[in-house]
């Protein structure tokens, strides 16, 4: 037998011969030829456990029925999945499962999509041999059933539970959470949290979706509607750049829930709570439904015609008087591609201005085209490709909050495939709990640390042959491991250990996150990372992921919603539009600076809230106050719309169809679920109306524009990596005076951008900004969970309640942003690499 055949087994299932890879179970082998075996506890992404016994099959020469989900396929097996014995076995199993099941299908939310209903109908009998009373879990004497809250959104009804353990298993195996377990045994087994715990992880919504019966339900869907009354709509998550596939369940003009739509290339059937409950913003209270125009001090309702007429008139005045350079545009990178394209086209062809940008939360954007960071981010990345790696290196990213589903893939490769994870962060994060080494560097010294790694790789003679490593010492600063260790505050042997692991690795995935991309020294950090990538041979064997943040950040990059574009993209736009403005455009931060200097008179903000998101509150406030004319299109009233001269109601993603480009560069289409609310309009229609009023329409219909958009989105721009080590000099800032604690402004796990605050379910997890502190730091301040702390920086102060973190162990202040009640961006300074703050306890009077 050849070696290829060694990995295959041939068996007979229901008289059909099937050849499958060795190690596959009988159940999977049957599935592969289209034979369905009923199951409860089996799940394609979990290890088999054989708890429900529903998947009984008869295997010849075996004394008893075998559970097919846990029986490995063996050569020569003869399997019967539909014999009388199997049918009898299934009937008996269902009888046992229904022993204590309450059969309260009329009140159960799962009714209509319940595995137990379906399988009992298909395989069971409508009678039971048992006539004693059913065992009942009752917590509350008042109600006849046991509904018990496991977390902010999850409700458990133990009577309905059939003990498949899918929730407990997925929680442990896939999400790495240990907050749920099975207690007691026999028929009083209970799925419960540990004492004092609650199920509130970012993945907790999946437990409800995975439950085959109605034992776990969520408050979101609870009792609202029956599943057969809803229609399914294919959608894509509108928050982070992972681009998980969703199904929206709607009836009439309301969306009732979102569930995952398994896509093995991206999400593998798991979605985070932001995606699951974030759809609620479409039906949330407080949506803008009519245009508003500022008359005097107040914003008053107006018609679309009035609003568009005013915008066109003011834009024309400014353009004629001072030129298009005096008009700027900021777009939210979570808008669909058509809106972003129309936005860019409006500015570049009609207003003759290059001032468009989507990077509202970046400090100090580049002022010249062709910066290294933008080049590198346009490279390809694959989430599924992480599985090929034997070392995953995460630099400057709180991965679980920024990209929860990419984090799951990293977890998978580490826990199931034995890869090593190394994290380099200024503070410890939750994703780091499975890492081989979690390196915490002193804030603002990441280049020094990476330089140290490069030097150590060369010293250990592990550098790749494709690059000339001899020049390294002259090009980087610091150029010894000891110096790097001293600057970054990391022990030298840990740097050496990591360098060795990286040098010896066969395939490395490098992931960097927001802590780098929004930093003012992003070019130096990128250069350092590229040096490291060259020395480890990552360009050939591995992938470099500078992960973009928002749902369509990548699309915005490709569609050129940026002021400085590459020459090839400009050439492309010239062929599409027949023209392109001459002057150099301004980035988001320069636009605000120019507004402050009264060089920019009008700003059109579509879908974003710079007043809350730009990392320098005072700066952006001063800039926007100086504007002559501000137009804001948004879903809700925000800090920015309050200052606007014209507010336009924008449709949410559920109210239009379009596409997103996820962090891999995959273009994914989503369908329209409901009609636009009130008079709201999708972004492309707003841009088209303005363009029509000014000069000429941008497009006849969106469908006609689609080929142009796809041409830009599918354009491959994979710039060659320069095969030479770059110069990286480290400049280290020191904390000055009384402000000594480094501040990190991050996203809360359950919130994203300025929108999710409006989601009821997400607010149940967390509804206000917090200050996260290490236990030792909290002790220094005599603070407990909930204590109010005054956080002061040189420019501002905010009072925030404390959360004592389980992970953070160094002296940093981590605050969560994007809560309109606590604008923490007031603490930040645009030119400061690391913001330092002072923490004091608010004394109660």
């Amino acid at each position: 037998m050849s070696s290829a055949d060694d990995n295959k087994v041939t068996l007979t299932i229901d008289g059909r011969e099937v050849t499958v890879p060795r190690g596959m179970t009988v159940l999977e082998a049957a599935k592969s030829i289209g034979i369905e075996i009923p199951t409860f506890c089996w799940h394609p992404k979990l290890k088999p456990v054989g708890a429900c016994r529903m998947c009984y099959v008869e295997i010849e020469k075996m004394p008893k029925l075998a559970v097919s989900c846990a029986t490995e396929a063996m050569p020569g097996m003869v399997v019967h999945t539909d014999s009388d014995l199997v049918k009898q076995g299934r009937r008996a199993v269902l009888e046992f499962i229904l022993l204590n099941h309450p059969l309260d299908c009329p009140t159960c939310d799962k009714g209509g999509e319940c595995d137990l209903q379906d399988l009992t109908f298909a395989h069971g009998i409508d009678d039971s041999q048992f006539d004693f009373n059913k065992y009942r879990f009752i917590r509350d004497k008042k109600s006849t059933f046991d509904d018990y809250r496991l977390g902010p959104e999850i409700i458990r009804n133990q009577n309905r539970c059939i003990l498949c353990y899918k929730c407990v298993r997925s929680n442990k195996e896939v999400f790495g959470e240990y907050d749920l377990g099975a207690f007691q045994r026999g028929n009083i087994t209970e799925i419960d949290t540990g004492p004092g715990q609650q199920v509130d992880s970012i993945y907790s919504g999946n437990l409800v979706e995975i439950c085959p019966v109605g034992a776990l339900t969520n408050t979101d869907w609870r009792y609202n509607i029956r599943v057969w009354k809803t229609q399914k709509v294919n959608s894509i998550c509108q928050y982070c750049a992972d681009g998980c596939n969703l199904t929206l369940w709607k009836d009439r003009q309301k969306i009732y829930r979102a569930t995952s739509r398994r896509n093995d290339a991206i999400d593998e059937g798991w979605i985070c709570n932001r995606g699951r409950y974030g759809y609620q913003i479409a039906n949330a209270e407080g949506r803008l439904t009519v245009p508003l125009i500022k008359r005097g001090e107040r914003q008053e309702n107006a018609t679309w015609d009035e609003a568009i007429e005013l915008i066109a008139r003011r834009f024309k005045e400014i353009k004629d008087k001072k030129g298009g350079v005096c008009i700027g545009g900021l777009a939210y990178p979570g808008l669909d591609s058509a809106s972003l394209y129309a936005f860019s086209k409006l500015f570049r062809t009609i207003l003759n201005s290059n001032n468009v940008d989507f990077r509202i939360d970046y400090k100090m954007l580049p002022e010249e085209p062709g910066d290294l960071y933008t080049q590198i981010t346009s490279r390809k990345f694959s989430i599924a490709g992480i599985e090929n790696s034997d070392v995953v290196l995460v630099i400057g990213s709180n991965l679980i909050n920024e990209h929860p589903i990419t984090n799951l893939r990293v977890r998978k490769v580490v826990t199931q495939k034995g890869a090593k994870l190394y994290t380099l962060n200024p503070f410890a994060t939750k994703s780091g709990d499975i890492s081989t080494d979690e390196i915490i560097y002193r804030a603002g010294t990441v280049e020094a640390l990476i330089n140290g790694l490069c030097v150590s790789i060369v010293e250990q003679k592990l550098a790749s042959d494709t690059v000339d490593a001899s020049k390294l010492a002259t090009r980087v600063e610091p150029n010894t491991v000891a110096q790097a260790a001293k600057i970054s505050g990391v022990e030298a042997d840990r740097i050496v250990g990591l360098a060795q692991a990286l040098g010896e690795a066969k395939h490395i995935t490098l992931i960097t996150g927001e802590l780098l991309s929004t930093s003012i020294t992003r070019d130096a950090i990128t250069a350092a990372i590229m040096n490291l990538a060259l020395l480890c041979g990552m360009a050939e064997n591995g992938q470099i992921g500078f992960l973009s943040k928002y749902a369509n950040s990548k699309g915005a990059e490709k569609l050129g919603v940026m002021p400085l574009l590459s020459d090839s993209l400009i050439a492309e736009m010239k062929t599409l539009w027949g023209g392109y403005p001459e002057q150099k455009g301004l980035g988001a931060d320069r636009m605000i600076l120019s507004a402050k200097k009264e060089e920019i008179d009008a700003l059109f903000v579509m879908g974003s809230d710079p007043m809350l998101c730009y990392p320098d509150g005072q700066f952006v406030r001063e800039g926007i106050e100086k504007l002559d004319f501000l137009v804001v299109a948004d879903l809700f009233e925000t800090r920015t719309t309050q200052m606007a001269d014209v507010v336009l109601p924008l449709s949410s993603i559920a109210e239009m169809s379009g596409d997103f480009v996820n962090l891999e560069g995959t273009v994914q289409h989503f369908d329209q679920a409901i009609k636009p609310l009130g008079q709201s309009m999708p972004g492309y229609d707003i841009c088209n109306k303005i363009a029509s009023a000014l000069k000429e329409p941008l497009f006849e219909s969106v469908a006609r524009m689609q080929p142009d958009i796809m041409r830009l989105l599918l354009r491959e721009e994979n710039p060659e990596i320069q095969r030479e080590l770059r110069e990286v000099k480290t400049s280290v800032e020191q904390a000055s005076g009384e402000y000594t604690v480094p501040l990190f402004v991050v996203d809360q796990a359950h919130h994203f951008a300025h929108l999710t605050e409006r989601s009821k379910s997400l607010s149940a997890f967390c509804s206000e900004a917090h200050l996260e502190l290490s236990p030792s730091m909290a002790e220094k301040l005599h603070a407990e969970t909930g204590t109010l702390i005054r956080v002061e920086s040189e420019v501002g102060k905010v009072i925030l309640p404390v959360i004592i973190s389980e992970h953070i162990d160094n002296d940093v202040a981590v605050v969560t942003r994007n809560f309109s009640a606590n604008p923490v961006n007031d603490l930040q300074m645009r030119k400061q690499r690391v913001d330092y703050v002072r923490l004091t306890r608010v004394e109660e009077k």
Partner: protein, 156 residues
């Protein structure tokens, strides 16, 4: 001859029939003052049943709406204070309803019944949207001894 046949004979014959009916019980009813007793299985206007303690039987499972061939039933679920399911909105469009009785048939909680009421005319369409409150109020009053019989039956 013709005259004799049509006038002399037929006229008294006709008067005789009229005279005969003067002494018979009339078949017509004085409708607004006098109403018909409907057959026990007559399917008229719907009503919602309550439990003996006064709580509504309907749990908003949606089976009546699912079984309705005319798509006349609209319902929205909600949660009571003690966490139980109930119908926040329950509406029947009587103009669409064909009084087939499938809803009664499908109801697993014995909550909806088709009663004996047959009078529902109005001058606008809106008043034919039959709400939950109206349906609960429409429940026929049970005679006391019947209730006792029902309770006794339930025990055995």
């Amino acid at each position: 001859m013709n005259f004799i046949r049509t006038v002399i004979i037929a006229l008294p014959k006709g008067f005789y029939t009229t005279l005969k009916h003067l002494f018979k019980k009339p078949v017509t009813r004085k409708y607004p003052y006098e109403r018909r007793e409907m057959a026990p299985r007559y399917r008229g206007k719907h009503y919602l049943e309550r439990y003996d303690d006064g709580t509504e039987r309907c749990v908003c499972c949606g089976l009546c709406a699912a079984s309705c061939p005319a798509d006349a039933i609209y319902m929205e679920g909600g949660e009571t204070d003690n966490g139980e399911r109930f119908a926040k909105v329950y509406e029947i469009n009587l103009l669409r309803c064909i009084f087939c009785g499938f809803c009664e048939e499908a109801c697993p909680e014995e909550a909806i019944f088709l009663g004996h009421e047959y009078e529902f005319s109005d001058d606008n369409r809106d008043s034919f949207i039959y709400t939950k409150e109206q349906m609960l109020a429409n429940r026929p009053k049970e005679k006391p001894f019947k209730r006792i019989i029902r309770k006794v039956r339930r025990i055995f």
